[in-house]
């Protein structure tokens, strides 16, 4: 509801208007959503968890932006902060997220008050969660969960809302008579598709999907992805798609942001990322997925494990696991700089004394 | 509604609220005078007895329905004259036939009434004369005879005395039941009461939980009560000395009963030792300091029963514990003190239990004090609370060590001693210890046939000697009929100066009714 846990909210009600220069500057880029310097901490103990650190990210109209990273690298924290759904100990400690709707004024989501937000919610900004079982209210019928939002956000009558809900379910291949079912009476795949239909209820411009298919089978996953693609083509919304399955993203995303230890370490077009990763982590990640086709060859994972975010390693957070680390990696934090068609936060391309191997040792193909 | 307003506003002086001490928190609508479960208020206020004795005045005769009695045939025949004014609450006359009917009724149905006694014949030569004959001299039954409660035949003839609950009694007493609820009985004075005009028009008897008794007394919500108010002088009287009164006249004594069928209590030295080890002054001060005092060693109370005590024993009292003397007695029984413990020949410490009724917290408290006192003599005493029915059984079966209990006085010491010493009373009231002494039996036999005080006093002296020398039970302290009353609206209560009745609202019918009929409204109270 607010970007600070509710208990701090009272003190933050005063709102200052956006500065003009920022607006005009950003408007040029044509991005639907521009995230700048976003940091999120979990204040649960004396030492907070720095779950998202200084993230810059842009979502273009109509595109699918994939966000990938290992477990615990801050993907969910990032998207919940963006949609202003962060849960209590999470505090947004810096940054802005400028949202430019097709009509109306741009809004900085991170500073929008409750009123502004509820105007944006679901009509502009919808979300799909990982586990559909948990995302649907178990004690309400499926229909009711469509109807309440349609009535609240679109002002439809109950009857109209019911009809519309039926149509929406139809979009994802679920017969309208299932509106009367309780969530537990639906199969996992149907529930997941239902939540996607729900996300589209108010024809939003941006749909954030946090691992929407991890709980379903590959077959069902494929089917759901196909449906998302079709709906996206039809309605033209942008998708932020969070997953840790890089091979899946490469297939479906236009651009991919790779996260590691709370930071975006590389962003770029999907194909480029696959074929020509700029960051050793991206390369290593790619190589951790055995290919479905082609010759079998020995693969190795990434040695070590992701760092804790309470005390992320100094310098590049990946350096303890990186095979091509060199002098500055453990002290200087690399910035996200243009690399190829995208950007990467790595010292390798920018430092003169970087070890000049053709490629990072793991990233051979 | 808390506070004095509960008395009923402007008509305050017409009514009085009394705590009759209903057992349980609800009143059972049972006014059958032959049921021992009869609700309080059945006797006295409604059913009346023939006559009574005021033990506070040395057993003075108190006429009631019967105005006088005469013995004939050496105690084998008694004639009671009935008050010709006596009538029933429905207006009809109460005659000697009604008394005869009650006697026959109880006999025929074998009802468990406490005044029940054996007789040969009971007749009513005329409406106001009752004649009862016996096979043996029956002087000692006078109290039971006085307790006879006549009943109107027309109502009772169709009833089973065991089960009839008699919800709306027709009786001869000053009050009739006006309203019954499980929480309160409301009595209304009869205007056709035969004896006199009834001063208190409305008598309310609500249920009062013992925990709230003192509060209600203090607030004036109840004006007459007989509960066990702890430290009544400080807690009640001192709070308003002009109006709050507490008088606990002695009506009996508290005794430590030994089980005479069981070692080591068979040994008189043990009994004496135990008796010597008790500190009676301290005991008297437990709970209600200043209200009780140590008993005379004969078991009688020197202050109220003094005239029956043999001159040799007039001042035989043992207020303080005499541990050295006790130790000497125990030594005679083979007990020696070793390291603070009184140890017998078998090497074991003298140890026993005092059984006590579990509901009586104050009795348990008192027993615990005795236990602590005896502990000083090196004896291990535990108090064990048990259900009263179980206690009855334990007494009957002589299945206990020591009990502490009360014995009550009557018009003469005969009943007292018979209760306590008669071997035929083993296990029941109050020869709990199964005391068996042929000499005592003979003496009692002798006394039963004597009609005059001098003869009674002579035999009694010998019984007193048995009490002192053989200690069948150890006399402890007096017991008093606890009564608290408020003189703000009503005066004329019995007190030390005018002990015309025992004022406890649970006392005998004549005492209780005598009290209520003697009250006078305080003139100022009406204006309030």
């Amino acid at each position: 509801m607010s970007h600070v846990p509710e208990r701090y909210e009272d003190e933050l009600l005063s709102e200052e208007p956006l500065s003009d220069e920022l607006l005009s500057d950003e408007l040029l880029s044509g991005e639907l959503l521009s995230v700048e310097g976003l940091s999120v901490d979990y204040f649960d103990r004396a030492e907070p968890v720095h779950a998202v650190r200084d993230v810059r990210l842009g979502v273009r109209r109509g595109e699918t932006l994939g966000v990938v990273g290992e477990s615990g690298c801050g993907k969910s924290t990032l998207v919940t902060a963006l949609t202003r759904l962060e849960r209590p100990p999470a505090v947004i400690t810096a940054g802005s997220a400028l949202y430019r709707p097709r009509e109306g004024e741009p809004v900085d989501l991170l500073r929008a008050d409750e009123r502004q937000l509820s105007a944006l919610r679901w009509r502009h900004l919808a979300i799909v969660f990982q586990s559909a079982m948990n995302a649907l209210n178990p004690v309400h019928r499926l229909g009711a969960q469509f109807v309440d939002v349609l009535r609240a956000q679109r002002g439809l009558s109950k009857k109209e809302a019911q009809e519309r809900a039926g149509e929406l379910l139809g979009l994802v291949g679920i017969p309208a008579d299932r509106l009367r079912a309780y969530p537990h009476e639906l199969s996992g795949g149907m529930r997941q598709r239902a939540t996607i239909a729900l996300a589209l209820a108010c024809e939003p411009e941006l749909v954030v999907m946090d691992e929407p298919t991890t709980a379903v089978d590959v077959v069902m996953q494929r089917q759901i992805l196909k449906q998302i693609g079709k709906l996206q083509a039809e309605f033209g919304f942008s998708v932020v798609f969070v997953t840790h399955d890089l091979s899946l993203l490469i297939e479906i995303a236009d651009r991919i942001a790779v996260m590691y230890a709370g930071r975006v370490v590389e962003v770029g077009p999907a194909r480029q990322l696959y074929e020509n990763p700029a960051h050793p982590y991206t390369a290593a990640l790619r190589n951790a997925f055995p290919p479905l086709r082609g010759p079998r060859r020995p693969l190795t994972g990434i040695p070590g494990s992701p760092p804790g975010l309470r005390h992320p390693p100094a310098g590049c957070a990946f350096h303890p696991r990186c095979a091509s680390r060199f002098a500055p990696c453990d002290t200087e934090e690399p910035e996200l700089l243009p690399a190829g068609a995208g950007e990467a936060a790595c010292h390798l391309p920018t430092h003169a004394d970087a070890p000049r191997t053709e490629e990072a040792p793991d990233a051979t193909d | 509604s808390a506070g004095p307003a509960g008395q009923g506003g402007k008509k305050a002086s017409d009514s009085l609220t009394v705590n009759l001490g209903f057992s349980g928190n609800t009143i059972v609508r049972n006014f059958n005078p032959f049921s021992l479960q009869a609700s309080q208020g059945t006797f006295g206020f409604q059913y009346e007895a023939l006559f009574g004795f005021n033990i506070l005045q040395g057993g003075k005769f108190v006429p009631w329905l019967g105005t006088k009695y005469t013995w004939a045939d050496g105690g084998k025949k008694i004639t009671v004259a009935l008050d010709p004014r006596a009538n029933w609450s429905d207006g009809s006359k109460l005659t000697a036939k009604d008394a005869v009917y009650a006697l026959e009724y109880v006999k025929k149905q074998d009802l468990p009434v406490d005044w029940k006694f054996d007789f040969k014949t009971a007749t009513a030569p005329d409406d106001h004369t009752l004649e009862i004959t016996f096979d043996t001299p029956a002087y000692a039954k006078l109290r039971n005879i006085g307790g006879i409660q006549p009943i109107p035949e027309k109502i009772w003839q169709s009833q089973d005395g065991k089960t009839f609950t008699n919800p709306q009694p027709v009786a001869s007493g000053p009050y009739v039941l006006k309203k019954y609820s499980a929480q309160q009985l409301t009595f209304e004075a009869r205007d056709n009461y035969w004896k006199q005009k009834v001063p208190v028009k409305t008598l309310k008897a609500p249920v009062v939980a013992s925990s709230s008794e003192i509060g209600k007394l203090l607030s004036g919500e109840i004006q007459w009560s007989g509960g066990a108010v702890p430290d009544v002088q400080k807690q009640y009287v001192a709070k308003d000395p002009a109006n709050h009164h507490a008088w606990y006249p002695t009506y009996g004594g508290l005794f430590m009963f030994f089980n005479h069928t069981k070692a080591p209590f068979k040994d008189v030295h043990v009994r004496k030792g135990l008796s010597l080890a008790v500190d009676r002054t301290e005991l008297a001060d437990v709970g209600n300091p200043g209200m009780f005092h140590p008993l005379n060693s004969t078991g009688l109370d020197a202050r109220t029963q003094g005239k029956w005590i043999d001159s040799a024993y007039r001042s035989a009292e043992q207020p303080k514990a005499q541990l050295a003397a006790a130790e000497a007695e125990f030594a005679k029984a083979g007990y020696t003190k070793q390291g603070g413990k009184l140890v017998g020949k078998d090497g074991k410490q003298l140890a026993f239990k005092i059984l006590e009724v579990s509901e009586f917290a104050d009795s348990i408290q008192r027993d615990k004090v005795i236990a602590t006192q005896l502990a000083k003599a090196g004896i291990d005493v535990q108090v064990q609370p048990i259900a009263s029915a179980q206690l009855d059984k334990a007494r009957q079966d002589a299945n206990f060590d020591v009990l502490v209990g009360g014995a009550v006085y009557y018009n003469t010491p005969y009943n007292f001693f018979k209760d306590m010493l008669f071997s035929g009373n083993k296990g029941i009231w109050t020869n709990y210890g199964h005391y068996n002494n042929t000499k005592a039996d003979d003496l009692l036999q002798q006394m039963e046939g004597s009609g005059d005080d001098a003869a009674i006093l002579k035999t009694s002296a010998e019984l007193q000697k048995i009490m002192v020398d053989d200690v069948p039970a150890a006399p402890l302290i007096t017991i008093g009929a606890s009564a608290q009353y408020n003189s703000k609206n009503w005066t004329g209560w019995p007190d030390e100066k005018n002990p015309y009745a025992i004022p406890a609202p649970w006392a005998g019918p004549t005492d209780m009714v005598n009290t209520i009929l003697s009250l006078k409204p305080v003139s100022g109270a009406k204006a309030k």
Binding site: F129 | K204, G215
Partner: protein
């Protein structure tokens, strides 16, 4: 050959199982019912065995006690033996006659309230308990739960930081001791409220305003005493459930949908968080009948709990036995009801075969 096309509707429900679920549900229900019948039978049997297993031969104590008070007819003695055990009869025969007597609800006469039949004594006390404890149960549930919803919905708010430690403290206090304190302070020292009984005995029981007012003022202290502990319990349970529920994905989704705060809090979070409490509440209703033994005793409130207290004090075995049976059976009934009704609030519990 054309492949059989799978119609979309085929996903909706496995048609072949239409008959199945109902049968399954019936069997499930029958099993629950059987369980409660077994439990009832065990309660009844326990009631039979208790006095027979206990030391002190209650039957003869009872007979001795009754004989001290009234002349006992042969019938009554027989009845006492039936209920409390006759050492001379084989246990099995005793059991059968006992069962017969139980089914006729014949528990004999109360000792403490002789000669009132036990059931009459109980039925006089029952309305008071049901009235007092029942109202308190409902009210404390509503208050406790509502407080828990508000506090749990906004963990860390003022309400939460004040009420939660308070409630924790409340649950740690022995209820009868609170009753004692209330009696001392509110009853005696401030004399604000009556501390004994159920109404002013001067008043005519009826529907008069004065009488009802008196009933209410007499009920305030006992009610408050019981309600504080219960409400605190409900509060804590609800708050913790709420905190857990509020961070469920479906609540987050409801927030994401831009629904109003109230809708999110109540329709989404509270409704789900309440499920365990509601289940607990129904079970708790069974305890209503048992009353709040000690609280009723402290306030001398003429309900079932106090009755039990009195029956214990006056060793009224017939009354004790009947009370125990009655309380047991009501708890069973309430549990059975709770089991059966739970499906109404939680659709997952009324499973249709999947």
């Amino acid at each position: 050959m054309t492949a059989p096309v799978v119609p979309l509707g085929a996903e909706s429900a496995p048609a072949a199982t239409r008959k199945g679920p109902r049968l399954g549900r019936a069997r499930y229900f029958v099993r629950r019912l059987a369980f409660y019948l077994v439990a009832a039978w065990i309660a009844i049997t326990l009631n039979f065995l208790l006095p027979r297993l206990m030391p002190g031969d209650p039957a003869s104590v009872l007979i001795a006690q009754m004989q001290g008070r009234t002349a006992l007819s042969g019938d009554m003695i027989a009845s006492i033996y039936r209920l409390f055990g006759n050492p001379s009869e084989p246990l099995w025969d005793q059991y059968l006659t006992y069962l017969g007597q139980v089914f006729r609800l014949d528990f004999g006469l109360s000792v403490a309230f002789y000669p009132t039949p036990v059931w009459e004594v109980i039925s006089a006390a029952l309305p008071w308990t049901i009235g007092l404890v029942g109202v308190v149960a409902v009210v404390s549930f509503l208050f406790g739960t509502a407080g828990g919803i508000l506090a749990g919905g906004r963990a860390g708010s003022k309400l939460d930081s004040v009420a939660t430690p308070g409630a924790m403290f409340m649950t740690a206090l022995p209820t009868f001791w609170i009753a004692l304190l209330f009696v001392l302070v509110l009853g005696f020292q401030l004399a604000w409220l009556p501390t004994g009984g159920a109404y002013d005995p001067d008043l005519e029981p009826g529907l008069s305003g004065a009488f009802l007012g008196s009933v209410v003022t007499h009920a305030i202290l006992p009610a408050l005493t019981i309600a504080m502990g219960w409400a605190a319990t409900w509060y804590i349970g609800m708050r913790n459930m709420m905190i857990t529920t509020v961070s469920e994905d479906y609540v987050l989704l409801a927030r994401a949908k831009g629904l109003s705060k109230g809708t999110v809090l109540f329709r989404y979070a509270a409704r789900n968080a309440m499920l365990p409490s509601v289940a607990g509440f129904a079970v708790n209703l069974g305890n209503v009948v048992g009353g709040q033994l000690l609280v009723e005793a402290v306030y001398a409130y003429p309900g079932v709990g106090y009755l039990l207290f009195q029956s214990v004090a006056s060793v009224d075995y017939p009354l004790m036995q009947a009370l125990f049976l009655m309380v047991s059976l009501s708890v069973l009934a309430a549990n059975f009801l709770a089991d059966s009704v739970y499906g109404l609030i939680d659709p997952r519990a009324r499973e249709t075969g999947s």
